[in-house]
C-alpha cells in the first residue's frame, strides 16, 4: 500500500528532495495511464451507477461493502482509489489497505493482517478538524485469484467489523467469488467503455501531450475499436504509437497496426482459401507453419476470423455454426495452454469440413 503511494506520488516528492536537476526530467517518465488516471470520482467516465453511489457517500451517506467487476481497463481500481483519496484526503495512506495478487494473501494473511487492520477503529475527524467518514477501506484487488479458503475466511470478518471497516473487492469474473461474499456486497458491473467517450478521452490526451496524428479521426477510432472498451489498453497503445513514431513525428497507420498487432487481412483470406481449395494435408500444414512464423497472436487471428466469418456472405448458417463452435473450442484450448500449431490445424480442418457442406 505504501509502495503504491510512493510510486503514485514519486514525481512530486523526489523532485522536491533531489533539487532542480531532476525536476524537469521526472514528469516525462510518467506513464500516461497513471497520469490520466481519474483523480476524482466524478471524472470516471461512463460508469454512472457506481459514481452516483460513491458521490452520495462523499456527501455523508454510508458506504456499503463494494464488489466491482468487469473487463480489464474499465476503471475499477481507479474508481475506488479516487474515492478513497477524496474521502480521506491526506490520511488516505493510513485508512486503506490495498492487497492485490502480487501480495501474499493466503488464508493466513486474511486472518492476521486484514483482521488486525479491520479491528482498528477510525475516528470521524481528520487531524485538521474536518469531518471524515469513521471507517477504513480494505481493497482486495484481483480478488478472483484468491483461493476459496481465503475468501471463506473473509466472510465473518466482513460482517463483524462493519462498524469500522468497509471492504471493496475488485475482480474480472464475478463467478469466481464465492456466493457468501457476493451476497454481502453491493455489486457494480463496470461495462466496457462507450466508443465515443473513449474517443473523446484519447483526443483530449492527444491534445494535452501534443501528439500529432495522421488522419486523426480514423486512426483514433481504429485504436478505440481494437481496444474493445479497454481504456488502459487504448492509452498504452496511443503512448506506444507516439513513442514509436519518434519525437514530433506524425503517427501513421503502420504504427497503429504494429502496436495493436492487427493481422493483415490477406493472411485471413489466404487461410480460408487454403481451406477451401486444398484437399491435401500438406498445404494446410505448410500454410499454418508459415502463419506461425509470422508470430501473430493467435487469439487475434481467431477474433478477426470470427468477425470475418460472421460478416461474410460466403457461408450459410450451418457452416457458420460449425466454424463458430470450433473457434470457441480452439480459443479455450489455447487459453489453457494448448499448442498453437495443433489448434490451428484443428480449426483449419473444421473450416474445410464446413466448406464441404453446401
Amino acid at each position: 500500500m505504501e509502495a503504491y503511494l510512493k510510486s503514485g506520488k514519486l514525481g512530486e516528492s523526489s523532485s522536491k528532495s533531489s533539487g532542480k536537476s531532476a525536476a524537469p526530467k521526472k514528469p516525462k517518465s510518467i506513464h500516461w495511464v497513471e497520469k490520466y488516471r481519474p483523480k476524482a470520482v466524478t471524472e470516471v467516465v461512463d460508469q454512472s451507477d457506481v459514481v452516483s453511489v460513491l458521490e452520495q457517500c462523499l456527501t455523508g451517506a454510508d458506504l456499503p461493502n463494494l464488489l466491482f467487476y468487469g473487463p480489464p481497463g474499465t476503471g475499477k481500481t481507479s474508481t475506488i482509489l479516487a474515492a478513497a483519496r477524496q474521502l480521506f484526503g491526506d490520511m488516505y495512506k493510513n485508512r486503506i489497505l490495498e492487497l492485490n495478487a502480487s501480495d501474499e494473501r493466503g488464508i493466513q494473511v486474511i486472518r492476521d493482517k486484514v483482521k488486525s487492520f479491520a479491528q482498528l477503529t477510525a475516528s470521524g475527524v481528520r487531524p485538521d478538524g474536518k469531518p471524515c467518514p469513521p471507517f477504513k477501506i480494505v481493497i482486495l484487488d484481483e480478488a478472483d485469484s484468491m483461493t476459496h479458503a481465503a475468501q471463506a475466511a473473509l466472510r465473518r470478518t466482513m460482517e463483524k467489523e462493519t462498524k469500522s471497516t468497509r471492504f471493496c473487492l475488485i475482480c474480472n469474473y464475478v463467478s469466481r467469488i464465492i456466493e457468501p461474499l457476493t451476497s454481502r456486497c453491493t455489486k457494480f458491473r463496470f461495462k466496457p467503455l462507450n466508443e465515443n467517450l473513449a474517443y473523446e478521452r484519447l483526443a483530449y490526451i492527444c491534445e494535452q501531450e501534443n501528439v500529432l496524428i495522421d488522419d486523426n479521426d480514423k486512426l483514433l477510432n481504429l485504436l478505440v475499436e481494437r481496444s474493445g472498451g479497454d481504456m488502459r489498453k487504448a492509452i498504452t497503445w496511443l503512448q506506444s504509437c507516439a513513442i514509436l513514431s519518434g519525437h514530433k513525428q506524425k503517427i501513421g497507420l503502420q504504427h497503429v497496426q504494429e502496436v495493436t498487432g492487427v493481422v493483415p487481412a490477406h493472411w485471413l483470406e489466404e487461410f480460408l482459401k487454403v481451406c477451401k481449395e486444398s484437399k491435401e494435408f500438406s498445404a494446410l500444414d505448410s500454410f499454418v507453419k508459415k502463419l506461425l512464423y509470422e508470430a501473430f497472436a493467435v487469439s487475434q487471428i481467431l477474433d478477426q476470423l470470427n468477425e470475418k466469418i460472421i460478416n461474410s456472405d460466403e457461408f450459410n448458417d450451418k457452416q457458420r455454426t460449425i466454424i463458430g463452435e470450433k473457434l470457441g473450442d480452439v480459443s479455450f484450448h489455447l487459453q489453457e495452454g494448448g499448442t498453437e500449431y495443433i489448434q490451428l490445424i484443428e480449426l483449419g480442418n473444421s473450416i474445410m469440413k464446413a466448406y464441404s457442406i453446401v
Binding site: 526530467k25 495478487a101 502480487s102 497472436a297
Partner: protein, 353 residues
C-alpha cells in the same frame, strides 16, 4: 565460439532484417519515456538480440559487463529455492519458470528487490533498472496475475522486458500493460544472405545451393541455420552442393516411432512406443513438441477420411496434456487412439478381400 554467438549483432545498426522495426525501437529508447515491453516471436527469430540491442542503446556498453549470481528464495511454506540470474549494473535477467510452480515467489521477490532500490549512480543514463523475464509463456497463471499490479506499482524504478514464444499463453491483463513487439521469423532468402555473409567473414566458401538447402532445413530459425552450417562444416569441408544435412536426432527418432505405429497396430508396438516416449521425455524434449511432430508425421501418411477424427483427437489429447501433470499418459493414450482409428479404417477398406 559458436557462429551464432560470435556474429550476434550488438546494436541496431548491425541488424540484418526488420530494419524498419529497428528504427522504431531506436526511437523508443531515445525519449525519456520507456514502457514495459513484451517481445514475442518464434524460436531463432532474434528476440534476444533485439533485447540486448535495446539495453545497449539505453545504458551504453556498461550492460555488457555481466555477472552470474545465484539467488536464494524462501517460499511461504519454507521451501528453499535457488535460481540463476544474469545481471549487470543496470539490469537483471531471470527465467522464473526454472523453479516450476514457485515462479510467483521469484517474480515478487526480484521485482520488489529491484524496484525498492533506486538507481544510486548519478551518472547513469536512466533512472530505472530493467528486469528481463524470459519464457513468460511458461509462467503459471498465478505468477502472471502477480505481475499485473506489480508492473504498475513499481513503474517509476523498474521496467520489465518480457520474452515469449507465443503470446496466446500470456494473459490479456499483462499484454495490455505492455508495448507488444512482434518479431517474425526471417524469410528464407534473408537466412541465405546471412549465412553467406557470415561464412565470408569466417573465410568459408559456401555454395549457394547448399545455403538454400540449409535455410530450408532450418525452419526459418536463424540460430539453427547457423548451427547446421557449422555441423556441416565439421562433417565435410569443402562443401559440396548435395551434401547431407544432418537432421535433429529427436526428429529422426519421432519419425521412426511414427513409422512403427503405422506399420503395426498391436499391444507390442504400444509398449515399444511407450519406451520411446519415455526416452524422449527423459531427454527433456517438451511434450508439446513431441505431440506436434508426431501428429504431423502420422497425418502425412494417413488417409483423408480419418484425418478429421485424428486431428480432433489430437487437439483434445493435447489440451488434456497441458492440464494434467503426467504427460506420458496423454501421449500414450493418443497413440492408442490413433492405432484404433487407423486399424478400423484399414479393416473397412480391405475387409472385403
Amino acid at each position: 565460439m559458436l557462429l551464432a554467438d560470435k556474429y550476434r549483432p550488438k546494436d541496431f545498426a548491425n541488424l540484418d532484417y526488420h530494419k524498419e522495426q529497428a528504427t522504431n525501437l531506436k526511437n523508443l529508447t531515445k525519449d525519456g519515456e520507456f514502457p514495459h515491453l513484451l517481445v514475442y516471436g518464434p524460436l531463432g527469430a532474434g528476440k534476444k538480440t533485439r533485447i540486448t540491442c535495446i539495453l545497449r542503446e539505453l545504458f551504453g556498453p556498461g550492460v555488457e559487463r555481466l555477472k552470474m549470481e545465484t539467488m536464494n528464495f524462501t517460499t511461504p511454506s519454507n521451501k528453499k529455492l535457488e535460481i540463476m540470474t544474469i545481471s549487470s549494473n543496470y539490469h537483471i535477467e531471470v527465467n522464473p519458470s526454472d523453479v516450476g510452480i514457485y515462479d510467483r515467489v521469484v517474480i515478487m521477490d526480484i521485482i520488489k528487490n529491484v524496484a525498492q532500490s533506486q538507481q544510486l549512480n548519478v551518472n547513469a543514463a536512466r533512472e530505472f533498472k530493467v528486469v528481463i523475464l524470459t519464457d513468460v509463456d511458461n509462467l503459471t497463471k498465478d505468477a502472471q496475475h502477480a505481475l499485473r499490479r506489480t508492473m504498475e506499482k513499481y513503474i517509476a524504478n523498474c521496467r520489465i522486458i518480457m520474452c515469449a514464444t507465443s503470446i496466446s499463453r500470456v494473459i490479456p491483463a499483462i499484454s495490455s500493460r505492455c508495448l507488444c513487439i512482434r518479431v517474425p521469423a526471417p524469410e528464407e532468402s534473408v537466412i541465405v544472405d546471412i549465412l553467406q555473409s557470415t561464412c565470408k567473414k569466417e573465410d568459408i566458401s559456401l555454395p549457394p545451393v547448399l545455403a538454400k538447402r540449409i535455410a530450408q532445413a532450418s525452419n526459418r530459425n536463424l540460430r539453427r541455420a547457423l548451427l547446421i552450417c557449422e555441423t556441416c562444416k565439421v562433417e565435410q569441408y569443402p562443401f559440396s552442393d548435395d551434401q547431407k544435412i544432418p537432421e535433429l536426432d529427436w526428429e529422426v527418432f519421432i519419425k521412426k516411432m511414427a513409422g512403427k505405429i503405422l506399420e503395426n497396430q498391436s499391444i507390442e508396438t504400444l509398449s515399444n512406443v511407450r519406451k520411446d516416449l519415455y526416452e524422449l521425455l527423459s531427454n527433456d524434449i517438451p511434450a508439446g513438441v513431441i505431440f506436434e511432430t508426431l501428429l504431423r508425421e502420422l497425418l502425412r501418411k494417413s488417409d483423408v477420411s480419418i484425418r478429421e477424427t485424428v486431428i480432433k483427437e489430437a487437439a483434445e489429447h493435447e489440451h488434456r496434456l497441458v492440464q494434467g501433470n503426467k504427460q506420458i499418459f496423454h501421449l500414450e493414450s493418443f497413440v492408442a487412439k490413433f492405432m484404433y482409428v487407423y486399424q478400423t479404417f484399414m479393416q473397412e477398406m480391405f475387409g472385403d478381400f
